[in-house]
Amino acid sequence: MEPLIQIKDLVKVYSLGEMEVKALRGVSLSIERSEFVAVMGASGSGKSTFMNILGFLDRPTSGQYLLEGIEGEHLSRDELAEIRNQKIGFVFQGFNLLSRTSAIENVRLPLIYAHHPSRKRQEMAEKALSAVGLKGREHHHPSQLSGGEQQRVAIARALVNQPSILLADEPTGNLDSKTSEEIMTIFKKLNQEMGITIVMITHEPDIAAYGKRKVLFKDGRIVEDSVS
């Protein structure tokens, strides 16, 4: 069986006016199903750019990226949106929930764009919320939830479409250490019990320790790739 993610010689160059910034300078990597990868690196090392390309939010300047054998290079904006909707779940540092919208409605959001019937949407959203331990808090608004709970809503939203991969960008960056631990426990559980593939950016070594594999970025290149 082919790997879930195959990346070869990935290069990303931003042009800021006259200046060219090389964010990625040839990255090659493959990730199997059910892996839990922690991506580390200093800021400016290219890990966020890597994550955006992995999430089909950005396109590489050159090189190849295949997700389940699909290449995004020649796809339209809308086709990329559909891939994000079906195959990718995002968890952000700042939670990025819609305020003034209840937890369950936030979780339902990807399903709306997947055009599932509304009863099915409700069922799937309830299931995802109870998977992150938020049963009974469906109708709370983000402002009524703690940071940890908000991030759990975000995780439920990322999971609700049963994606191939969960991409987390500093998921504990806005949380205290105790809440961070809770969130990481959820990630670990999702990975071990449900076999969900997770790629997580972090700069904290103790958070990265939850991952089974560590990838270190420096100056747009992978300088270390180790399995613990």
Partner: protein, 409 residues
């Protein structure tokens, strides 16, 4: 379909979050649609009144007036020199083929007395053809007979205003009124015609036989003299021809040399009236156009608010695009928002427009006329204003770069 419903729900929720802002944005459209409906109602009311007045005047109508006097280089107005006679009228009727009816008139002002009531009004001497020309119906009684005309009978036909002022609920038919001390028997009562296109009360009038006016009431400078002759042509297509034939005939009868000016004038009343109708049409078009401008200004208000809203919700749009919203999902969401604003505003505007028109017409007594087409048009126009002015902000939202949108603070 489910996508559309979902977008509708998202849009409604977003509008309800900012109730005050939505209401104020809508107000622009409410005022715009209301103004369009009210202005069209006022304009078409005025147009209808003029059309009614033209119909009440009679169609394809000429009035031939006596000429103007010249004394010491000073010319007086039409009718100051009596030149027309009842025989001229008879000649027009018999010698010009395009003529349908001819009615010579001789009128003056007199005091009318009935019992202890009195009223000063126009006493109009004419023949029964006048009622045909002006399509004037009788409420009761009869018109003049040839016998009345030949014998200068002391009979009269009353306009509605005169009846209202002299007879308090008494049936006037058969009653005796005094005109310049002579007793006249009332033989007919006319239906009300209302105001003329020139604002006169057409019903404030008494008709007597032409000969009675000439011989008994007002006297004549020469036999058979009349002040004006009303002529009705068979149709609009012969108007020009009939007009020149009347001129030729009267010049010949009055023995005018080619170098002499006409001692009479012919006026085409239908032409005068239709130019009044034309100006009413232009006026109502102008009113509608001015009101439409306010609707467009309302639309610009929507665009402004939608642009603010898109900027404010950049992060929300970024989240939606990241979790799989396509360009058309975002476009539709914001387009629906602006359309809901403009359509709800349009509906309220219809109510405001109708209420405003009713209030306006009850205060000013202007005639107004609502038309379903105008209301539908204003509503559809408001909807298209929503689409037109909502499109740019919505498109801007749908083209946002998700990475930048997610980073937006």
């Amino acid at each position: 379909m489910t996508a559309l419903l979902a977008s509708l729900r998202i849009a409604l929720r977003a509008l309800l979050v900012n109730k005050m802002r939505s209401a104020l944005t809508m107000l622009g459209i409410v005022i715009g649609v209301g103004a369009v409906i009210a202005m069209i109602a006022v304009g078409s009311g005025a147009k209808k009144r003029i059309a009614d007045q033209i119909a009440s005047m009679g169609s394809n109508l000429f009035v031939v007036l006596s000429g103007s006097a010249t004394s010491g280089g000073m010319r007086w107005g039409s009718g100051t020199v009596p030149t027309l006679t009842a025989d001229d009228a008879k000649a027009i009727a018999t010698e010009i083929p395009g003529v349908k009816y001819v009615a010579p008139s001789y009128n003056g002002v007199a005091q009318i007395v009935f019992g202890n009531q009195n009223w000063s009004t126009v006493v109009h001497g004419s023949t029964s053809e006048l009622f045909e020309i002006r399509d004037w119906q009788f409420v009761s009684g009869r018109s003049f007979t040839q016998l009345d005309i030949d014998g200068a009978a002391k009979v009269c036909i009353l306009g509605k205003t005169v009846v209202d002022n002299l007879f308090g609920g008494i049936d006037p038919i058969g009653q005796i009124v005094r005109i310049r001390k002579f007793p006249f028997t009332v033989i007919g009562v006319l239906a009300g015609k209302g105001q003329s296109a020139w604002g006169q009360d057409q019903d404030d009038i008494i008709f007597v036989p032409l000969t009675t006016a000439q011989k008994r009431l007002f006297g004549m400078q020469f036999p058979g003299m009349v002040r004006s002759i009303s002529v009705q042509a068979h149709g609009p297509e012969v108007m020009k021809e009939v007009e020149s034939q009347i001129v030729d005939l009267l010049r010949q009868r009055h023995r005018l040399q080619p170098a002499q000016e006409n001692d009479f004038s012919v006026r085409n009343l239908t032409e005068v009236a239709s130019s009044a109708e034309e100006s009413a049409k232009v006026m109502s078009l102008l009113l509608g156009a001015i009101a439409s401008i306010s609707l467009i200004v309302g639309g610009i208000g929507i665009m402004n608010i939608m642009l603010v809203s898109v900027t404010e919700r950049t992060r929300e749009i970024g989240i939606r695009i990241a979790v799989g919203a396509k360009g058309k999902d975002i476009l539709l969401q914001f387009l629906i928002e602006s359309m809901v604003l403009s359509l709800v505003g349009g509906l309220l505007g219809i109510g405001v427009g109708i209420a405003g028109t009713l209030i306006l017409s009850s205060i000013t007594q202007w005639p107004t006329l609502f038309s379903v087409q105008a209301i539908l048009l204003a509503f559809l126009f408001s909807g298209s204003v929503g689409v037109f002015f909502g499109f740019y902000p919505a498109r801007k939202a749908s083209l946002l770069n998700p990475i930048e949108a997610l980073r937006y603070e």
